[in-house]
Assembly symmetry: D2
Homo-oligomer: 299 residues x 4
C-alpha cells in the first residue's frame, strides 16, 4: 500500500519537515491555520486540505507539528479535527513537544475510532528540520513505527523507538533537562573564568575536547563570547518545555533541583524582555548576579 | 641544548606520564616519596635522584605531579626541595591541580633564584596519562612553554597555552566546574527518566547525539545504568578540586550556585562512605532524595 | 441593615469558622457538599440551604471556604452556584486559598451581576479556625471590608485589609513562601547540629530567643526533635499552595529560587508517601540526603 | 575567692561587654592591640595590662573577644599570649566566633598547663553587648561554667550551657544558619510581593504575627522597605561566620544546600562593594536577579 501523507502545522519546524517529505517523493497534503504559509509547498507539488478533518479523510498517515498541547488536541480531536475525517486504520503522528500524559490521552481517544497514534517529538532546531537531520524520539507500537519509518527517515538522521505512547515525549523532556542543565554549568564556568581574568577563547579551546566537553559548549559557549544571542531555540520555547518537564516531574514524583532553578533564572530573563533570545542567554542571569559580562577579547 | 628531564611524583597519574617521557627518548631522572614506586621506571632506564634537591641539581626541566598545594610547595620550595638544587635557568613545570594563587606564589619564589616556572595541570585521567592523550592547560611565559613543548607532546594530545602564571590552574578549575555541572544535569535527567518509567538505554541512545550530548553523557551515564561506580576520577579527588574552585571563586568574587550545590551533594556521599567511587556516583545523591534507583533493564 | 450570613464549605477550617459566626450571634445559613458535615451546626441553630444558589438567595453576605480554585468557581459561578441566587448588592467573601488571578476573575464575574466580592484567605490552621484567632488577609474595596468586618472579627484575631481584589491571595502566598523558607533553614540547621553532635534541645533553647528565632522554630522544631509529624498543615496542602505561588510568580515574572527547591523536596516526600504529614517533615528530605536523623536525646 | 577579671579585645562588641563587667563591680584588667581603645575603660576604673601574658598573670578569669581564629590563637597561645602568664587553675573564656575545632585545640593546649577553658560565643549585636542583653552559648565543663556565671550574667540575658568544648561554637553556627536562611526566605517573599504589586507595609503587617513570623521579619524586613542598609551585622562578618559553617559542615559531613547558596549570593554582593552593609542586604542579590527593587510606598 502506498501511504498518502498529510502534514498539519507549517511553522518554522513543520515547513522544513514537510518540504523534506515532498522532496523524498511522498504524495503530500498540507494544512496550516494561516493558509499563506502553505503556498511554497503547494507550488512545489503538495495538495492543500480545507480543514484537518478534510486532511484526515484524504491521508493514511497524518503528521502534526504545532505549538502546544491545546493546539494538538484542537487539530486532532477538536471540531473539524483529524479525528472527524480519518478512517479506521489511519495513523496520526504528533511531532510537537507536549506532555507525555497529553500524548496518552490523544492515543486513547484515537484508539476508540480505530486510528493509530505515535508521539514523535524532535530535537535539532529549525536547521535540523530544514536539512532533514533531526533526532526523532518515537513512542508507540512497533508496527506503526515501522510503518512511519520511511517518512521519519526523510525528516531525521537519528530515529529511536523509545517505548510506548508518551515515552517519546518523556525522552524529549529528558533531552531538555540535559540541555538546560549543561547550559547552566557552562554559564557558571564562563562567569568564573571571566571573574578570574583568563582568556575565554583559549579557555574554551583547552576544555572543549575532553571530559568537560558537550554539544552546548562547542556550539553555544562561543556564541556567548561573541554576545550573539540569536536563538537556536528561544527562551520562551525553552520555558514552555520546562513547564512540561516540571509538570511531568510533579506527576511522577521526581524532584528536580536543577531544572527548577533554571526555570526561575529564565523567568527572570523573560521578565526583563529577553524571551526571544536563545536559550544560551541563560548566562545573562548569572552575569547579572555576578556583575560581570562574558565576552571575547576579555582576559 | 639537550634537556635533562626530571619527574617528581609517581602516583597513578605521574607514573604514566613519566613512562611516556622515557618512551619518547628523554633522559629521565625520577623521585618519589615512596621509593618503591620508582622501580619499574628505573628498570626501564630512568635514573633515580636521592631528593628533590638532588633531582633539581641534575635536570634542566623538572616536572612535578603530586597531591595538593602543600605537597607541591614542599617538594619544590621546602627543605631538600627542588629550589635547593636547581640552577638559574632551570624550568620547573607543576602538573598537579592546585590553586591559581599557589601557582603564582611558587612562580614568584622560583623567579627570585632565576628559575622558570609553568603551571600545567592536566585532564584525561589515569588512562589519558598512560596513553599520552592528556589535555594539558599551560600557564606561564611563551618561551618556556615552547621549551617544554616536546615533553608535553610526549604526555598529551591537546596542549593549550592559556595565559600567564596561574592561568593553567584557573582553566583546569573551569574544566572541573563543567564536569560536575554536566554530571548534575545528567543525574537529574536520569532520575526523571527512571521515575517516568522509560527505558533508560533507549533514552541515552536517543539523546546522546544531539544538543543534549556531552562526553560525560556518552561515557559516564552508561556506567550509571550498569551501576558501575569504578572511578575515572574519585569523589574524594573531585571534592579536593571543588574546594579549590570554591576558594578561588571566593577570592575573585564569583558566585557559584551550581558548584556549591554539587559540593554539598558530594559531601553527603562522602559522609556515607562513597568517597572512593567515581564522580558519576553524584547521581546517588539525587537517587537518595528521589527514592529511586537508576539501572539498566528498568523501564 | 442586619446581614444574613451564609457559609459554604464546612471542612476542617470552615466548620470552626462557621461555628464562631453562629456563636457571635449571626443569623447563619450553611451549605456543604456532604450534607452530614452540617448537622452539628444545624443542631446549634444554623439553617441549611439546598444549594449554593439557594444559600445565595437567602443571605446578604456569603462566605466560602473550600479546597481549590475549581471548587470555588463551581460553588460561586457554576450551575446552581451562588451567582444564580445572590441579588445585586450581596457580598461574596471567599476565604479559600486560590490564585490571585482566580480571585480577580470571580470578582469580575460577580460585578457583572452587581454582586460584591472580597478575597480573604486565612492563616492559623484548624486550631485558629476553632478558636477564632485566625489571621485574615483581605483584598477588595474598603466599604465591603468594613461591611464584613463584624464577621471577620468573629473568626479572626488579626484582620488586615491589604489591597484590591486578589491582593489578599497574594499576601497569603507571601505568607506561605515565608513559612516554607523558614522551615528549610530550620531543617538545614538541625541536620548540621545533629551531624555535629550537639544536644539538640539545648541548641533550640539557646537560639530560639534571638535573631535566629521564628514561630516555626519555636513551634515546629521541637516537634521535629520528638519526631512528631502530626500536621498543623499537611505537606499535600502545602504543595497545593506552593503550586499557586509558583504559578503566580511565573505570571508576574518573579524568580523563586528557594520556593522552587522546597517544592521539589516536598515532592520527593510525597512520592515516598508522606503527603499527610506536617509541613515540618520537610526536614526528612535533608535527613535522607545527609543520612542522619534528628531526634531528642541525641547529642 | 574573689575572681580578678581580664578582658582582651575592646572592639565594637568587647568594649560594651567589658564596660558591663566593670559596671557590675568586677575588678577588671583590660588589653587591646590598639591601646587607645582602652582609655574610656581605664578612665572608668579598669587597670591596663602591658600584654596578654601580663593580663594572664594578673587575672583569674580571662575573657577574649577578637576577630577570628588566628587572632584568638595569637592572644591566647602565641608569643606574649595569655598562656605565658596564666597560672594553673585560671580560666580562659573565649567569646569570639571561631571554629568548633579551633576551640577544642585551644582547650587542649591550655589543659596541658592546667588552665581551664570555655568557648562562649554570643549573639545580639553591638546593641546587645552595650545593654548586657546578649545570648551566650557556652561549651565546656559545668564547674567552670558555674564559675564564670556571675560574669556572664553581667554581659548577657540568656546564658545556655550547651555542651562540651566547641559546642558553644557549634550552636553559634546553628544560629547563623538560621539567621541567613530566614533572611533568604524573607528576601524571596518580598521580591515576589513587589513583583505582584501588593502594598509591602500592609503585607508585613498581615504576615508578621503568625506562622510566617520571625525576628528577622519583624526587625530587618522593615529596614529593607526603607532601603536602610545600616548593619546590625555586616555582610563581611556574616561571610566570615558562614565560612566557619561551611568548613565545620565539611568536617562533619553535613550537606548545606541553603547556606552554600546564601554564601554565594553574599559573595556577589561583596564583589559589588556591599560588604559593609547589613546582612539583610541579601535581598539585593535577588532584586538584581529579578530586576525589581523592594521599597516602601510601592504597591
Amino acid at each position: 500500500m502506498t501511504e498518502r501523507v498529510g502534514f498539519i502545522g507549517l511553522g518554522i519546524m513543520g515547513s522544513g519537515m514537510a518540504a523534506n517529505l515532498l522532496r523524498a517523493g511522498f504524495d503530500l497534503t498540507v494544512w496550516n491555520r494561516t493558509p499563506e504559509r502553505a503556498e511554497a509547498l503547494v507550488a512545489a507539488g503538495a495538495s492543500r486540505a480545507a480543514t484537518p478533518a478534510d486532511l484526515g479523510a484524504r491521508c493514511s498517515i497524518i503528521f502534526s507539528c504545532v505549538s502546544d498541547t491545546s493546539d494538538v488536541i484542537e487539530v486532532i480531536l477538536g471540531e473539524q479535527g483529524v479525528i472527524e475525517g480519518a478512517p479506521p486504520g489511519a495513523l496520526v503522528v504528533d511531532m510537537s513537544t507536549i506532555s507525555p500524559q497529553g500524548a496518552q490521552t490523544i492515543a486513547a481517544a484515537l484508539a476508540e475510532r480505530g486510528v493509530h497514534f505515535l508521539d514523535a517529538p524532535v530535537s535539532g532546531g529549525s536547521e535540523g528540520a530544514a536539512r532533514g537531520t533531526l533526532s526523532i524520539m518515537v513512542g508507540g507500537p512497533a508496527d506503526q513505527v515501522a510503518r512511519a519509518m520511511p517518512c521519519f527517515q526523510a525528516m531525521g538522521a537519528t530515529i529511536t523507538h523509545v517505548g510506548g505512547h508518551g515515552d517519546g515525549q518523556t525522552v524529549k523532556l529528558v533531552n531538555q533537562i540535559l540541555v538546560v542543565g549543561t547550559m547552566l554549568a557552562i554559564s557558571e564556568a564562563l562567569v568564573f573564568a571571566r571573574a578570574s581574568g583568563v582568556d575565554l577563547e583559549k579557555t574554551l579551546q583547552a576544555v572543549s575536547g575532553g571530559a568537560a566537553g558537550s554539544w552546548m559548549l562547542s556550539n553555544r559557549a562561543p556564541q556567548c563570547l561573541r554576545r550573539d544571542w540569536r536563538p537556536g531555540f528561544t527562551i520562551d520555547l525553552q520555558q514552555k518545555d520546562l513547564r512540561l518537564v516540571l509538570q511531568a516531574a510533579d506527576e511522577v514524583g521526581a524532584p528536580m533541583l536543577v531544572t527548577a532553578q533554571v526555570f526561575q533564572l529564565y523567568r527572570a530573563l523573560q521578565a526583563a524582555g529577553m524571551g526571544q533570545e536563545g536559550n544560551h542567554a541563560l548566562i545573562k542571569a548569572l552575569e547579572r548576579l555576578a556583575g560581570v559580562e562574558v565576552g571575547a577579547g576579555q582576559g
